[in-house]
């Protein structure tokens, strides 16, 4: 058998990196840079009508054509990245953090805490999400904090259900019993003992939920209830320019492609995260 030397255990861990995952990461990083440097990258201000024509084709002055008012499409997509990425990321982080923390707590605590929380969130998830969003926005008006908070509320119950189902299996393991016998507090049990064992599926779920949020936000904007003009997220851009569809205008195709690349990239990346190589006997 191979002899273990101390050098093999001290060596920096290596990772198995998958090409598809890296492709996904590259696209995400690209969009993050676009969102971060938006005002510096955009050739024209967001609301200015710069083209003589509307639904203009791609040209040297307007790389991605112009929209229904003759505004530069490239600038609008670059600015839109901020809204789409920012709102969706904030909402998905809130939804998954709340859902996963509550789900793990319910699974570990059990009893009435679990029952009350589960029934309450079941009731929440029985409300159709789009209707709920429409009602909230028409009641309190559309602003970015409202959008973020509303999207987070809509997607928390699903995340909770998912995390709880995973954590229930972990909570029945002997190592949790031992931690309980030791007298560990809830915080230690959920963060140190449960979370590391469910983090893989939870991240996959986060990826999927991000996509749903991007799509719901785009849907809301499409209906005119999302980000308000003259600013527009990608879904809003599709709606504004939907009349250009018969003219095959780039103004309607390109924001759709932007939404597609981002959502697919997030899922490619999360499903192909680098795996630490744990084969140490070399």
């Amino acid at each position: 058998m191979t002899v273990e030397t101390s050098s093999t255990t001290r060596r920096r861990p290596r990772y198995q990196i998958k090409v598809v995952g890296m492709l996904g990461l590259a696209i995400i990083v690209f969009w993050l840079i676009v969102a971060a440097l938006g005002p510096h990258l955009a050739p024209y201000p967001i609301g200015d009508i710069v083209d003589q024509d509307y639904f203009g084709p791609m040209s040297r002055d307007f790389w991605l054509g112009s929209d229904y008012l003759g505004r530069d499409m490239l600038s609008r997509i670059v600015y839109g990245a901020r809204y789409t990425l920012g709102i969706s990321l904030a909402a998905v982080t809130m939804a998954c953090t709340c859902g996963v923390v509550l789900g793990m707590s319910a699974a570990v605590a059990g009893g009435w805490f679990d029952s009350v929380l589960s029934r309450f969130l079941d009731a929440m998830s029985s409300i159709p999400s789009k209707l709920f969003a429409l009602v909230v926005v028409s009641a309190v008006g559309s602003s970015i904090p409202v959008l973020i908070f509303m999207l987070a509320v809509i997607y928390t119950p699903g995340s909770y259900r998912f995390a709880r189902a995973l954590a229930v299996n972990i909570a029945a393991m002997d190592y949790i019993t031992i931690a309980r016998l030791r007298g560990e507090k809830m915080f230690h049990i959920i963060t140190a003992e449960v979370l590391p064992n469910i983090i893989g599926p939870v991240l996959t779920d986060l990826g999927l939920r991000f996509v749903f949020i991007v799509l719901l936000l785009s849907g809301m904007s499409f209906l005119g209830l999302g980000v308000q003009p003259p600013a527009a997220d990608w879904g809003g851009l599709v709606r504004e320019n939907i009349d250009g569809l018969p003219f095959a205008a780039p103004a309607v195709i390109l924001p759709s492609i932007a939404i597609a690349t981002l959502t697919i990239a997030v899922n490619l990346f999360i499903d192909n995260l680098p795996v630490k190589i744990r084969d140490r006997s070399e």
């Binding site: 058998m1 273990e4 101390s6 255990t9 290596r14 198995q16 393991m173 002997d174 190592y175 019993t177 031992i178 309980r180 016998l181 030791r182 007298g183 560990e184 140190a192 003992e193 590391p196 064992n197 983090i199 795996v275 190589i277 744990r278 084969d279 140490r280 006997s281 070399e282």
Partner: protein, 547 residues
């Protein structure tokens, strides 16, 4: 006679996550003549199941046959297409898995599953297959052979399910049956019935068999020849009697030696009769508490009393379902006892662990059967051992690191394992880490719940030696809960035998081998012996006990 199976120069490779190839079976030759039973014996990881599975042309995920030939009934399964192999499986070569409970589909009646293979291969009409299945059920001495097939898997016992799995394997008249540790998960008393049924039915069917096991005594009852494996190589091969009596290879001798538990001369320390370390008085525990008539639906532990003195060891034995693990849960407070008293170190403990003080919880540690489930797979050994040190003793940084090294040294593990995760350790190493974690608390009492039943014989002997040494160094007391009598006899000075929730007999060190209670006698006589004639010499009708 022509060989039914000829394995020549078989090599099986596995691929690690760093894309490195490891040979897990190295150049194995094996023959099998019709009607013969050959046992493959060795510790876990020796490649015994891997070799047996190649007879069906199957390797587990990530493994592949890299060289050699496996001739089954004149055809080489290595060269076969997957389609040809599936024609072979079940019809020519069949398989009895270790856990029949996992091999049966819980949603289908047993009969449909038993005869399924004859329908897939179109061997016989369904009605004929059913008749044959009933004959097999009878041959395997299953109760109600005519109607047992109509039941569902959860409606029969574990031993019966294992026999039904054998019927499933034999239904299509295969030439070779692979038994993969079929009795490892069973109690000794059940194991006898299953072994006897296997032996009878194999004799009648005239099929050849490969019997994979790590238990030499079980294998001795059935096999004509034994192949001893280690590290993917055949170390020694010969007739059963020859292997048992004139083992040549040192590893085989070690296996046989591990079988005879070497009882160290017991030096019993002086004890204070009036002050036991643990005094359990009339404890009742179970499941399904009903508030209406304030009683338990299932009384798993019924009025059990026992005493344990400092520096002594107590064994609790019995078959599965006798309440021994529930008793451990009641003592440790995982399952609060409904009535009775648990007095530990002079103070009465609360029934549930939440009602006990931090010191009481620290001084009584429990070590569970499955180290896999008891160690968090996502955390390193460092974290697993560091946490109780930080929690109980407030050790951090350098002091904690030193103590972890000392603990690993105590359980004879190299400190280079600190960065690893439990999944990267062997079964024996995991169980040692499990002990090290209990020791980190600096307890007075360790409750060991079946700690050795998932381990190989040789490893068990090493763990017992370790526990004995630790006891002397740290003045610990142990409670051993086990169905493995020889292990308990090797280390305990008092044994409590449990049967249907009651403590039926208490054996002290002097009369440990002369039980009085009929159940204890049955239990003791059920432990397989290395003698190949042991099974046949047992009384045909074993006493049936009713409480």
């Amino acid at each position: 006679m022509a060989n039914l199976v000829e394995i020549r120069g078989l090599k099986v490779e596995a691929k690690t996550d760093a894309n490195r190839r490891i040979e897990i079976v190295k150049d194995v030759d094996l023959d099998l003549v019709p009607g013969e039973i050959v046992a493959l014996i060795g510790e876990s990881g020796s490649g015994k199941t891997t070799i047996a599975l190649t007879l069906m042309g199957h390797t587990r995920t990530g493994c592949s046959i890299s060289a050699g030939s496996v001739m089954v009934d004149g055809q080489d399964v290595v060269q076969m297409s997957e389609q040809q192999r599936s024609r072979l499986r079940g019809a020519v070569v069949s398989y009895v898995p270790q856990s029949a409970a996992l091999a049966f589909n819980p949603a289908k009646a047993i009969m449909d599953q038993v005869i399924e293979v004859t329908q897939i291969h179109g061997i016989m009409p369904a009605e004929e297959a059913r008749q044959r299945a009933i004959e097999l059920f009878r041959a395997l001495s299953l109760p109600n052979p005519e109607t047992i097939g109509e039941r569902y898997p959860h409606q029969v016992s574990g031993g019966q399910l294992q026999r039904l799995a054998a019927a499933m394997a034999l239904i299509a008249n295969p030439k070779i049956v692979i038994f993969d540790e079929p009795t490892t998960a069973l109690d000794v008393t059940t194991q006898i019935e299953v072994l006897r049924a296997f032996k009878d039915v194999m004799r009648r069917a005239g099929a050849a068999a490969i019997y994979v096991s790590h238990d030499l005594a079980v294998v001795a009852q059935l096999a004509d020849r034994i192949a001893v494996l280690r590290n993917g190589e055949v170390q020694e091969m010969g007739q059963t009697v020859q292997i048992l009596e004139q083992a040549r290879h040192p590893y085989t001798r070690e296996l046989i030696a591990a079988f005879e538990p070497h009882r160290a001369p017991v030096v019993l320390n002086e004890i204070d009769e009036r002050r036991p370390l643990l005094d359990v008085e009339n404890v009742v525990a179970g499941y399904g508490w009903s508030k209406i008539d304030s009683s338990l639906l299932v009384k798993a532990v019924d009025n059990v009393s026992l005493q344990l003195y400092e520096g002594r060891n107590l064994g609790i034995v019995g078959e599965s379902g006798c309440g021994k693990s529930t008793l451990a849960c009641a003592i440790s407070g995982i399952l609060p006892a409904v009535s009775g008293h648990i007095i530990f170190d002079g103070r009465e403990l609360g029934p549930g662990y939440k009602e006990r003080t931090a010191q009481q919880k620290r001084e009584m540690q429990i070590v569970f059967q499955y180290a896999d489930a008891a160690l968090n797979p996502a955390r390193s050994i460092d974290d697993i051992l560091g946490r109780p040190l930080a929690f109980y003793h407030g050790l951090t940084g350098e002091a904690q690191s030193k103590r972890i090294n000392a603990l690993l040294d105590m359980v004879r593990l190299p400190t280079s394992l600190r960065g690893r995760r439990p999944g990267e350790l062997s079964g024996g190493q995991k169980q040692r880490v499990n002990f090290a974690r209990a020791l980190a608390a600096e307890p007075k009492l360790i409750i060991c719940d079946e700690v050795t039943s998932a381990l190989d014989t040789v490893v068990v002997a090493a763990i017992i030696d370790l526990l004995r040494e630790l006891q002397q160094e740290l003045s610990l007391s142990y409670i051993f809960i086990s169905h493995d009598l020889s292990m308990v006899q090797a280390i305990c000075d008092k044994i409590v035998v449990m049967y249907q929730g009651k403590a039926v007999e208490e054996l002290a060190v002097e009369n440990m081998t002369q039980p009085q209670h009929p159940y204890t006698q049955l239990l003791f006589s059920s432990v397989p012996k290395l003698d190949p004639n042991w099974l046949d010499s047992l009384a045909r009708e074993r006493p049936i006990l009713t409480a």
